[in-house]
């Protein structure tokens, strides 16, 4: 794949896409930057505030704690979903009608609108009408997500694991399918252990899809909004208020355009840095592989 032709006419193929994405991305981004340095009442009545909003946001304790909570949440779900997803992918049957059936069942949570996911879990965990909430209470545990921050937090993590592990599983499953059968046979002849097969045959093939899975999951967990909004409303208190929600509250409920724009930009810079590190890592990994293979 290194023999790509140098041809700047390729820009013409990119152009339609570029215009569309730019329309959806650059114009709003510019507007956000403009908002972030002003106190806007309407298009005519506005005051230049300079860096004031940035200073305020960077030192705002509610946002700092939302950010901390966000990182804790993202790392927790990654630590659970990645191994679990790999495990599920290894367990999924490869052939026959069962493979299709299980694939569909496993994928199901991914295709449910996010607020419905919230509703499903809201119903499921209620103490009076929900199976999980009711069962836990019958077992003697006073489970209550509207009172106990710990319960709320654990429930949101379980919900996210339920919702998104399928994505990792799906990616890994397709990665595993790309391994030729001959590899496994060679391993069997060598009497390789199950662990050795995983470590030396399956895992290397999975690295690519895994990095992509982790990247996607990290980014989406940073955007998590609808599910906790419906399930806990960010509470009890603000114990499950994550970044997006803190932002949405500020932007829509309080209509503080300036501060929320400043906050958006800070948020965006964090995302940009993390994704750049990931992207560079993937690119270098692929380059090393190519150099090594040649």
């Amino acid at each position: 794949m290194n023999n790509k032709v140098r041809n700047n006419k390729a820009w013409w193929l990119i152009l339609p896409m570029l215009l569309l994405v730019a329309f959806s991305a650059i114009i709003p981004l510019m507007t956000v930057v403009n908002y972030s340095v002003q106190d806007v009442f309407d298009a005519q009545t506005r005051y230049f505030t300079g860096t004031e909003w940035f200073v305020q946001m960077l030192n705002d304790p509610t946002l700092q704690s939302a950010l901390g909570r966000q990182f804790a949440f993202s790392l927790t779900i990654l630590a659970i979903e990645v191994p679990l997803g790999i495990g599920i992918a290894l367990l999924m049957p490869k052939k026959g009608w069962q493979a299709s059936a299980i694939l569909i069942l496993v994928t199901l949570p991914l295709l449910i609108p996010w607020n419905v996911v919230g509703s499903i879990w809201q119903i499921f965990t209620r103490g009076d009408i929900g199976l999980m909430g009711w069962s836990l209470r019958e077992l003697g545990y006073s489970y209550n997500i509207t009172r106990s921050p710990l319960d709320a937090w654990i429930t949101i993590v379980i919900m996210d694991v339920w919702h998104w592990t399928p994505l990792i599983a799906l990616l890994c499953y397709s990665g595993l399918r790309a391994i030729p059968e001959a590899y496994y046979q060679a391993a069997r002849i060598d009497r390789a252990s199950r662990w050795a097969i995983f470590r030396y045959i399956q895992l290397p093939k999975l690295t690519n899809v895994l990095v992509i899975g982790i990247l996607l999951r990290f980014m989406h967990s940073f955007m998590i909004y609808a599910e906790p909004f419906v399930l806990t409303g960010g509470g009890p208190g603000s114990s499950t208020t994550f970044l997006s929600q803190a932002l949405a509250i500020m932007a829509t409920a309080q209509f503080d355009v300036g501060p929320s724009a400043a906050f958006s930009l800070i948020y965006f810079l964090i995302i940009l840095l993390v994704s750049w590190v990931f992207y560079t890592a993937i690119m270098n990994m692929q380059k090393d592989k190519k150099d090594g293979g040649a």
């Binding site: 006419k9 896409m17 069962q98 449910i112 899809v209 995302i271 994704s275």
Partner: protein, 309 residues
């Protein structure tokens, strides 16, 4: 909880796959190894069946509960907890299908999702081809910029989007939501398609051009059929992310193009939440997803080298 019972019932299908598993062996070199595998694999195979079933139960339980509630009357839901509908009713579904506000929500959602899929795939195909075949100024940076859009939290863009679409007169139309979803769907489509296209040997393009095919003809007649499963997988992901998104769809619409997700908020009224209708509406939002995943199941299984192996 119910692991032990599950393992007993699952033993038989388990064996079926052990047999199915050994089949591809014959196609390749060392078929002597076959008996060894079979003996060695059986016990661990039953265990993996059981683990798989446990996970499936974990996935299905909340969905089952939703389904269960959608067939119950509100008085049954709020009364004693019942594991299956005692008093089976379709009333909740009847409510939805008899009220234009409700079912138009589904129509609206499906409309903008389809529009978005069409727009995204049309512009992403040539772009992905360019990325997979050519080197040009700024290609790597452009690709990275595309990916950052995939990661841009919609919450950041809510207000400017509202302003933008209001100004250009597209507020509360399906196309507005479809265009807004392009923000993350086009980059995703380019990313996935590029991986598939890179796995098609370049020689095919060259041969076609030597045979006198023009670029558009080659692209439509030869290239697109070759990456069919890639397009299938891409459409699946486009559907998924556009169908599940709520924040932008809700912000950019009011009545004419209101998505089902925001119609559902009507179930919570001053007199409490209408659980039955909420559950039925929830079940109905899952159905289109099942249809889509059924169509692409084989393509997904074929494996997509998203990250260009």
């Amino acid at each position: 909880m119910n692991d032990s019972t599950r393992s007993a019932t699952q033993a038989v299908p388990g064996q079926v796959t052990v047999e199915g598993q050994a089949k591809p062996v014959q196609a390749t070199i060392q078929s002597q190894a076959k008996p060894v595998i079979k003996v060695a694999k059986r016990p661990s195979h039953t265990r993996s069946r059981v683990l798989m079933m446990v996970y499936i139960v974990f996935v299905m339980l909340p969905i089952y509960w939703l389904l269960n509630m959608s067939f119950q009357t509100n008085s049954e839901i709020l009364g004693e907890l019942t594991f299956w509908p005692q008093d089976f009713t379709l009333e909740n579904y009847a409510n939805i299908f008899s009220d234009a506000n409700w079912y138009m929500g589904y129509v609206n959602s499906i409309t903008y999702v389809l529009m978005n899929m069409l727009i995204s795939i049309m512009v992403a195909l040539p772009a992905a081809y360019a990325f997979s075949r050519y080197q040009f100024i700024g290609d790597k940076h452009l690709f990275f910029w595309l990916l950052t859009n995939l990661m841009a939290p919609p919450a950041v863009f809510l207000l400017p989007y509202f302003q933008l679409y209001y100004t250009v007169g597209l507020f509360d139309t399906h196309i507005a939501v479809a265009l807004a979803h392009c923000l993350f769907n086009i980059p995703l489509a380019v990313w996935i398609l590029e991986g598939f296209m890179s796995s098609v040997p370049k020689e095919i393009d060259e041969t076609a051009f030597i045979d006198g095919y023009s670029f558009p003809k080659f692209f439509v007649k030869i290239f697109i059929p070759m990456i069919r499963s890639g397009i299938g997988v891409t459409l699946f992901f486009l559907f998924m992310f556009s169908w599940v998104e709520l924040l932008l769809a809700r912000t950019l619409t009011s009545t004419n193009a209101q998505p089902i997700a925001s119609v559902m908020t009507r179930t919570s009224t001053a007199s409490g939440i209408d659980w039955g209708t909420l559950a039925a509406a929830g079940v109905l939002t899952i159905l289109p997803g099942i249809v889509v995943v059924y169509f692409v199941r084989n393509h997904i299984a074929k494996g997509f080298a998203l990250g260009r192996t």
